[in-house]
């Protein structure tokens, strides 16, 4: 019974939501967006579980002085500081009843001067990692890899004014060979064709996966093996 009830609920809800796409009449027309909203509400309350788990795991590591426990200390301290600054609206006016993001409030200051630069820093790591990944991955090991390598050169240079200058001397009949035009062609023809093919495959995979879940064929997510 413990496994049957979730399967029945999944089947009913899944089927009704699929049918409601085609029926605009109330209440079916609103079902999709209503369930989206219900899920968001549940996710917000579920955050309590996540926060509790975070504090338990890291609190345990600090208490038992596991390896690398100072990092857990930083995690708990950061979590607690932001929560208190946000909940009690410290530093903002008129205090606890005020706006969370009031200029000059502690939350706003932490957001602007700690959180924002940290996020930008993490994103900036990509520039370095792209270089090291490109150095390692773009090797002309075979024909396909060579084509990939050449396309990478064209795109990398085509995205810069340097690429424009490199082939700007080409006469008009050969203007399609100019790097920016080639880059544009690669992005809008073979790249788009590949992306669309992958998207068609993904859509079909989603249908298959969703049907397996709705029909109860796939039950691993419930913590049960499929029968």
């Amino acid at each position: 019974m413990r496994r049957q009830i979730p399967l029945i609920i999944t089947f009913i809800v899944g089927s009704v939501l699929i049918i409601s796409v085609f029926i605009p009449h109330k209440p079916f027309g609103q079902l999709g967006e209503n369930f989206s909203v219900y899920f968001d509400i549940i996710a917000v309350f579920a955050f309590i579980l996540g926060a509790g788990n975070l504090l338990r795991v890291h609190g345990n590591r600090i208490y038992k002085k596991h390896k690398d426990w100072p990092y857990s200390m930083v995690t708990v301290a950061g979590f607690t500081l932001m929560m208190i600054a946000g909940l009690f609206k410290i530093g903002g006016s008129p205090g606890i009843t005020g706006d969370l993001t009031e200029p000059g409030s502690m939350f706003e200051e932490l957001y602007m001067y700690v959180f924002t630069p940290l996020m930008a820093t993490m994103f900036a790591l990509l520039a370095f990692y792209v270089a090291s990944a490109s150095h390692r991955a773009f090797r002309a090991k075979n024909k396909e890899a060579t084509v990939l390598l050449l396309a990478a050169f064209v795109i990398l240079l085509g995205r810069t004014p340097f690429g424009v200058k490199l082939t700007s001397w080409l006469p008009d009949p050969l203007s399609f060979l100019e790097i920016p035009n080639l880059a544009s062609w690669i992005m809008s023809v073979p790249n788009m064709a590949g992306q669309r093919a992958i998207m068609v495959g993904i859509a079909l995979g989603v249908i298959s996966m969703a049907l397996r879940v709705i029909l109860g064929v796939e039950r691993t997510y419930l913590g049960a093996d499929s029968d």
């Binding site: 990692y129 990944a133 691993t220």
Partner: protein
């Protein structure tokens, strides 16, 4: 003589001035005489907006014949009685011949008029539309083609699931990433290092996360048998709860309930880059021997994959985010591309019913490929020959596979 020349010059100047003024006046008079009253739009038709839950009416009209002579737009007026007061409900740009009134009540009857407005703010009123009421429909006929094609594909998947025969071996091409799962887990066991599993950064309402969790369940069962340490940091609380339950059941079904620890699955943060910073920290400190990235990822994919590469881990990735696939392909040892992610669970289970659903997907691919080939050929023949026959057929194929906005 001098006096005569001065007088003559003065008269010439006066004449020129008079000529210019009268010429201007003549121009004004002549342009006035050319201007006729602004012609109104005609054939105003108002009808219930199709395929909705009520509350909307489409108003269509024939453009004013003076479109080319300075019409700047159209104002739509509405009233609940033909002789009552009309109020303005919206504007449409010049050249536009339809307006959707999305603020109607189904119980009321409405009448519409359309005003043409020109550059000089002159207005010209159309005739009254016939009375109309909005209503809700039980079926959106704009989605009929979606229902047919979706029904075909879903029907094929259900058919092959239902008719999957035990013992009958279904041909499946080898997916290198999935063949390598056992080897990757074995490697971690031999090295005595943990396995890191990242189920993506989206919530359980995303099908990629569900696919990630189902694969986690199967991988966790193998990990339980090998008695290797597992680490599953999650980005969402609901995913954490689901993953905990999945891993626990996997350990129980492997007969290793004693080896399960609640700390295997833990929540980190919802924030994308905070999450990847934590995951990178785990990788650099704990040095997992195997990393799985299975689910939905965004910009953090390359950061995780490169960090995993720097610690020498074997990396198996799978995502249905086309933008992230190139990063995983470049940085990981094995990548499950798009639909392979959704097929992975069926592949790893080896169950006939699950594998049958993959066969059903092939029906969808046949439909898609046929439509692409036929459509491309028709468009090519139309472009070369200019024949309206090919043009109409190409248009038909296009309409069959598009959803027209209602």
């Amino acid at each position: 003589m001098k006096a005569f020349s001065y007088s003559f010059t003065f008269c010439c100047l006066l004449g020129l001035i008079l000529l210019a003024t009268t010429d201007g006046l003549a121009q004004v008079e002549s342009s006035d005489s050319l201007l006729s009253p602004l012609l109104p739009p005609s054939e105003v038709i108002a009808e219930d907006h199709p395929g909705d839950a009520g509350g909307a009416i489409i108003v269509r009209w024939k453009l004013s014949p003076d479109e080319d002579r300075g019409v700047t737009g159209y104002e739509i007026l509405r009233s609940t009685s033909p002789t009552g007061e009309f109020s303005s409900i919206g504007f449409a740009a010049a050249g536009s011949n339809r307006y959707i009134d999305a603020n109607t009540e189904d119980s009321l009857t409405y009448y519409y008029k359309v005003l043409a407005i020109d550059v000089s703010k002159n207005v010209s009123e159309s005739e009254l539309s016939s009375p109309v009421r909005s209503s809700a429909q039980w079926f959106d006929f704009h989605l009929l083609n979606l229902l047919i094609i979706g029904g075909l594909i879903c029907g094929a998947v259900i058919y092959f699931i239902a008719h999957a025969k035990k013992g009958k071996k279904l041909f499946l091409r080898k997916i290198a990433g999935l063949e390598a799962v056992d080897e990757a887990i074995g490697r971690a066991t031999e090295m005595g290092r943990p396995i890191l599993f990242i189920p993506g950064i989206l919530d359980m309402d995303d099908v990629q996360t569900i696919a990630g969790i189902t694969i986690l369940g199967r991988v966790a069962k193998t990990i339980a048998q090998y008695d290797t340490k597992l680490n599953v940091p999650t980005s969402r609380s609901i995913v954490m709860s689901t993953a905990m339950e999945t891993v626990k059941e996997a350990y129980i079904s492997a007969g290793r309930a004693d080896a399960y620890s609640e700390d295997f699955v833990h929540y980190v943060t919802d924030e994308q880059f905070g999450y990847v910073a934590a995951v990178d920290g785990i990788m650099v400190r704990e040095k997992p021997a195997t990393c799985f990235y299975i689910g939905a990822f965004f910009a953090e994919s390359l950061i995780m994959a490169e960090t995993g590469n720097s610690i020498g881990a074997i990396q198996i990735a799978g995502t249905a985010m086309p933008a992230q696939l190139p990063f995983f392909v470049a940085a990981c040892d094995y990548t499950l591309i798009g639909e392979e992610l959704f097929a992975a669970s069926a592949y790893l289970s080896g169950e006939p019913k699950q594998l049958g659903s993959l066969k059903g997907q092939d029906v969808g691919k046949i439909i898609a490929m046929s439509a692409i080939v036929i459509g491309a050929l028709l468009e090519t023949f139309f472009a070369i020959s200019g024949s309206s026959f090919f043009g109409s057929l190409a248009e038909l194929v296009h309409k069959l596979f598009s959803i027209v906005a209602s």
